[in-house]
């Protein structure tokens, strides 16, 4: 148990909250909202859910994830050239690329919602969710060191 365990704990917990939050909203909140709430209420609730989740993403998830991720990479001695090496480096590089794609999808989701394009927003939300699960897959594929 070192301070690095704490850093890893924060990284994993924050990721769990984000991926888990998306799954919960998609699999639990949305179906219930559709079934139980009238359209006006539903719109308001979902907007608020989206706003709150977006705030969590921007204020907690991203800062924690980026700072702890960079710290862990530094601790492991990751360098730009080692990112291209097959194995740990390349899996990490793929994970970062997918993370960027997911963030882009999430941003598009927010923007589309704001501009009243619900279909595209929904597609991007699902893209972000599936991609997030893919990031978890790649994270578990990182060889232990």
């Amino acid at each position: 148990m070192t301070w690095w365990s704490v850093v890893r704990f924060l990284h994993v917990t924050s990721a769990a909250l984000w991926v888990g939050g998306q799954l919960t909203v998609s699999l639990v909140v949305l179906p219930l909202a559709r079934r139980l709430l009238d359209p006006r209420q539903r719109g308001r609730v979902l907007r608020e859910v989206g706003r709150r989740f977006g705030a969590f993403t921007g204020l907690v998830f991203l800062p924690v994830q980026l700072s702890t991720g960079v710290a862990i990479a530094w601790h492991k001695g990751v360098t730009p050239s080692s990112l291209a090496q097959p194995g740990y480096g390349r899996i990490l590089a793929a994970k970062l690329l997918l993370f960027c794609a997911v963030m882009a999808a999430a941003a598009l989701h927010g923007r589309a919602n704001g501009r009243g394009r619900p279909a595209f927003a929904r597609a991007m939300a699902i893209t972000s969710l599936v991609g997030s699960v893919g990031i978890v897959l790649l994270a578990t594929a990182l060889p232990p060191t």
């Binding site: 097959p86 194995g87 390349r90 794609a101 893209t127 599936v130 991609g131 699960v133 232990p144």
Partner: protein, 853 residues
């Protein structure tokens, strides 16, 4: 529905009249082309995980996508331009199916190691194209000639080139052609297919397609010029291919030059048209880029063919193949599809415009990217630049495929619900990331070092792998390993023979100098867990063993973990097995004379496992000597082996200087001793390093009966020894001896031998078992499951005698000690006997007594 509506509007005229309905099979043919392109992108991403990635990539693209496009479009253009009668309804789908089945068989057969399948596939592809050409020829003869009859001739010549090139390809994948022919076959195959099949088709099509794409009239005089240039191009190409096949460099060069001149002539209308009307659309610029790459590729091939011996042409052109495939074929294909796909998709003027706009989206960026990237793929630039260039090319191709697939799906009325579209996008992104993550290093896993002497090999530690993972070198080679840690974390390399690097930080390098190679050596990273994660390597001895004259391809057996654990339950081989354990009573007389010869023998040392052993008299253990106290033994020891040996008999007491000396092959000595004391004695080879000589089988037992030894109903002798797999004396085997890690323990020269050939006894019989521990390192704790010993004799003294109230359960012997135990089995059954040190007992020091009534 025929394809007649898809006229590429050659003659003069006004803007195209949109087709009324898309030709459904025709659309299918183009979807097939798109599918092959998508497969090419996928294969490029998964390169590291695929066998023969380069070959596969090139053929997925050229044999899959390009060949499909050529057949489909050449048939279509010929049909419309020459107003051929429509093909029978069954022909297009049958042709499409057969061609793709053939292409798939070629790819699967070659990659999957099934040459007959690949050859059958090549034959199908050749037959389909031959049939296609035949149809064009026969049909066109019936049809009117006219302005565009030259198109048919170009297509027929292109098809003929594929028939030749495809046959050559089939010959190569059949693996029947002698290896020496391959360079020429490959060079001819490459020229026939690229400049013939693809090149002639493209040149023939550009006469009409280019003005159509530019929406302008066809140049006057194009027809005669096309006919004239083909009359040069076809014989030129035939000469080039024939010259390459026959090894006639100058004929090949002259042929290629003729072809180049003809091609440039054929491109003059292209230039004139372009001067008159500048390229201004995505399709026209992309086609222009492809045509420019064709000229570059042709120039490169001409230079190579003219300056290199024929056998080196294929090798020298190898780096330019991506340039030809991506630069020439890729641009032409994508340019044509940008123009033709909206026409095929149809759906009225509005839909045509919409699809065209979709396909053209981002075309300038795509084209700029490939224009920069394509030359980088063939130029000697740093690896990262090559990777980046390929990424650009793939991104351009992939984005086009995605856009085209979307256009096709939209025009077919396929709509995805937003969640499905989102899930598909997410899954594709994840698949892409996983492909990047698992893409391996194409560096060879096995590095063969030719020649002897001092050889330097670069070894890289990264990604939980050691590369190369196998080094093969001739015996006696002095290897110098330059070990670099290219990983983010620390690693080192330790060899089973003891050499090791310090712990290397990222980027650090260390050098290991090895002594002349005598046997296989294993190496691994000692950082905890890294060895288990796969950071291992093997240095193998390749070539011929001078001692035996046999080809050696030794297996590695060394280090902490034996590569394949022994299967002690395997069926034993017939013939040799454990030595007969039954011990004869001492022969009469007070003097014993015998000859013992040191020889090497191939023996079964574990069930189903034979190994070369060093022996006394061809068996492990050596012959048993038995007598009584006061007897004199005269041993004539002859060395019939290939190395020095000696003998040391513990049963006699004498100055070791002369009798225990090492004698060389062919020599002999006399070893004479008087057995002054009783006991179960060991004898063994006295030559250093004794550990190796004993561990490889040179030991035996001398039984000197104690005075008044009572008679027993049965007497057995078990000599226990360690088993080290591997070639005797090789570094890995010796390392295991040093570390005291035998692969198994043996009774009488075979691990678990008496599991398969049990010793026998009857109920109530007195059974005496003599045990000698030969080692070299470990002793024994001999025990019979279910039995108790009433007599124990160890190292010259009775620990327990018959009639004593106590009993014994095990006879403990250190290495080189001996004794006997006696027991009476109480009832019938199968009694296991073991070394009760369970590491030994469960690794071969095990057998059965079969006790009957």
């Amino acid at each position: 529905m025929t394809t007649a509506d898809l006229r590429p509007r050659p003659p003069v005229q006004r803007p195209p009249r949109p087709p009324r309905r898309p030709a459904s099979w025709h659309l299918r043919a183009n979807v097939v082309v798109l599918a092959w392109l998508a497969l090419t992108v996928a294969a490029a991403l998964a390169r590291g995980a695929l066998p023969a990635p380069r070959w596969l990539l090139i053929h997925l693209f050229l044999l899959g996508a390009v060949t499909n496009a050529v057949v489909t479009w050449s048939e279509h253009f010929a049909n419309t331009l020459l107003r051929l009668p429509s093909p029978p309804r069954w022909w297009p789908p049958a042709r499409l199916g057969a061609l793709n089945a053939g292409a798939a068989a070629v790819l699967g057969g070659t990659v999957g190691g099934l040459p007959p399948l690949a050859v059958a596939g090549a034959a199908v592809v050749v037959l389909v194209v031959a049939w296609h050409c035949g149809r064009l020829t026969v049909g066109a003869r019936r049809a009117l000639g006219g302005r565009f009859s030259h198109v048919r001739d170009w297509y027929v010549c292109a098809g003929a080139a594929l028939v030749v090139g495809g046959t050559l390809g089939g010959l190569m994948v059949s693996e029947r052609a002698p290896q020496a022919w391959h360079p020429r076959l490959e060079a001819a195959h490459l020229h026939a297919n690229l400049f013939g099949w693809v090149g002639l088709t493209v040149l023939g099509t550009l006469f009409t397609l280019w003005p159509t794409v530019l929406r302008t009239r066809i140049d006057e005089g194009t027809g005669p010029l096309a006919r004239r240039s083909l009359r040069l191009a076809a014989p030129g190409l035939a000469l080039a291919v024939g010259g390459l096949l026959g090894g006639a460099r100058w004929i090949a060069a002259a042929g290629l030059l003729l072809y180049a001149a003809a091609a440039l002539t054929a491109l003059t209308p292209f230039l004139r048209t372009a001067r008159r009307r500048r390229p201004h659309t995505a399709a026209s610029w992309t086609l222009a880029a492809g045509t420019a790459w064709f000229v570059v590729a042709l120039a490169a091939a001409s230079v190579v063919v003219a300056t290199r011996p024929v056998d080196e042409v294929a090798g020298a052109l190898e780096p330019t193949v991506p340039l030809v495939a991506a630069g020439f074929a890729g641009h032409v294909l994508v340019g044509s599809l940008i123009f033709l796909l909206p026409v095929v998709l149809g759906g009225g003027p509005a839909a045509l415009k919409r699809n065209a706009a979709l396909l053209e989206r981002g075309w300038a960026l795509r084209l700029a990217g490939t224009t920069v990237a394509v030359p980088l793929t063939a130029l000697p630039v740093p690896a990262w630049a090559v990777h980046a260039a390929w990424a650009l090319v793939l991104a351009a191709l992939g984005s086009f495929v995605a856009v085209a697939a979307f256009a096709v799906a939209r025009s077919r009325g396929l709509r995805l619900s937003p969640p499905a579209a989102g899930a598909l996008t997410g899954a594709l992104l994840t698949a892409l990331a996983v492909a990047v993550a698992v893409s391996g290093d194409p560096a060879p896993a096995t590095r063969s070092v030719a020649g002897g002497g001092v050889q330097t090999v670069d070894v890289t530690l990264s990604g939980m792998r050691i590369r190369p993972s196998v080094i093969e070198a001739a015996p006696g080679t002095r290897l110098v390993l330059r070990v670099t840690n290219a990983d983010a974390q620390r690693h080192d390399l330790r060899l089973a023979t003891g050499e090791r690097t310090p712990l290397l930080r990222a980027g650090q390098t260390a050098t290991l100098r090895l002594p002349p190679l005598t046997g296989s050596i294993e190496g691994w990273c000692t950082v905890a867990g890294h060895r288990a994660a796969g950071m291992t390597m093997t240095i193998k001895v390749a070539g011929t063993d001078p001692a035996t004259g046999r080809a050696v391809h030794s297996e590695a057996h060394s280090g902490a973990a034996s590569p394949a654990p022994l299967d002690l339950a395997a069926p034993p081989l017939p013939g040799t097995g454990p030595a007969d354990a039954a011990l004869e009573p001492a022969p009469g007389g007070a003097e014993h004379r015998l000859q013992i010869r040191a020889t090497e023998a191939e023996l079964q040392v574990a069930p189903g496992v034979r190994q070369r052993m060093w022996t006394f008299g061809g068996t492990v253990p050596g012959p048993v000597l038995r007598g009584k106290v006061g007897d004199v033994f005269t041993i004539t020891f002859v060395n019939d082996a290939a190395m020095g040996h000696g003998i040391d008999v513990h049963a006699g007491s004498l100055a070791p200087d002369r009798p225990m000396r090492t004698i060389q092959p062919g020599e002999r000595l006399t070893y004479r001793f008087k057995a002054e004391r009783a006991g179960a004695w060991l004898y063994h080879c006295s030559t250093a390093p004794m550990m190796q000589h004993i561990a490889n089988g040179m030991y035996g037992a001398v039984i000197i009966d104690p005075p008044d030894l009572p008679r027993a109903d049965r007497e057995y002798l078990l000599v226990q020894g360690e088993l080290y797999l591997g070639r005797p004396g090789e570094a890995g085997q010796v390392a295991k001896m040093r570390e005291g890690r035998p692969d198994a323990w043996m009774f009488n020269g075979m691990a678990a031998g008496y599991d398969h050939a049990p010793l026998t006894a009857r109920v109530g019989e007195r059974v005496r078992i003599w045990v000698v521990a030969a080692g070299p390192s470990s002793g024994t704790s001999f025990h019979i499951v279910g039995a108790q010993f009433d007599t124990v004799y160890k190292e010259g003294a009775y620990l327990l005698r018959r009639g004593d109230p106590g009993g014994a359960q095990a006879l403990d012997l250190a290495a080189a000690q001996g004794g006997f135990v006696e027991t009476v089995f109480p009832e019938a059954g199968r009694y296991p006997f073991v070394d009760h040190d369970m590491r030994h007992g469960e690794a071969g020091a095990h057998g059965f007594f079969e006790v009957r009534r």
